[in-house]
Symmetry: C2
Subunit: 92 residues, 2 copies
């Protein structure tokens, strides 16, 4: 995995609105409209953040009819943790 890819993985966490989305998703899968209700942003802005979150691998989207259900990907989150654990272990 090159540095660009690693950086994009961490982009999930480096915006305050995305942190809020992730915290909401900790409670379990939610559709975009439900996330939107609790946030002070417009629908296109939410859609933009969801794309970045999905690109990072930390969030997964599942389409069901007209709804998009988003949830945190255990595997995606684990990848991030593993990268940091390895950094910790490699420390001289």
């Amino acid at each position: 995995m090159d540095n660009k890819k690693i950086a994009s993985m961490f982009k999930a966490f480096c915006d305050e609105n995305r942190i809020q989305i992730l915290e909401l998703l900790q409670g379990g899968e939610r559709c975009a409209c439900s996330l939107l209700e609790e946030m002070q942003i417009t629908q296109p802005t939410l859609s933009h953040h969801m794309k970045i979150l999905c690109d990072s691998g930390v969030v997964i989207g599942r389409k069901e009819g007209k709804w998009m259900h988003y949830s945190i990907s255990k595997d995606g989150l684990e990848n991030v943790i593993n990268y940091l654990d390895e950094m910790m272990n490699e420390l001289k």
Copy 2:
């Protein structure tokens, strides 16, 4: 810790040049001039990134004479890992 603070913690990892710096620092403490030698950026740009890394808490700077020695902060890195571990544990 508010969302803004959390986001700034993760800013350490969301730029490819900073990822490279962190990888170099995995080998142990290095002065800025030594980091600079292996990177394709100018000295002020490096200085800019070191500031962001230190602000995030993941890197620590130690001044010795005219040199700045930088290293990865175990505590800082642990904070990041703990945040993610907790997110993983809270998952519904």
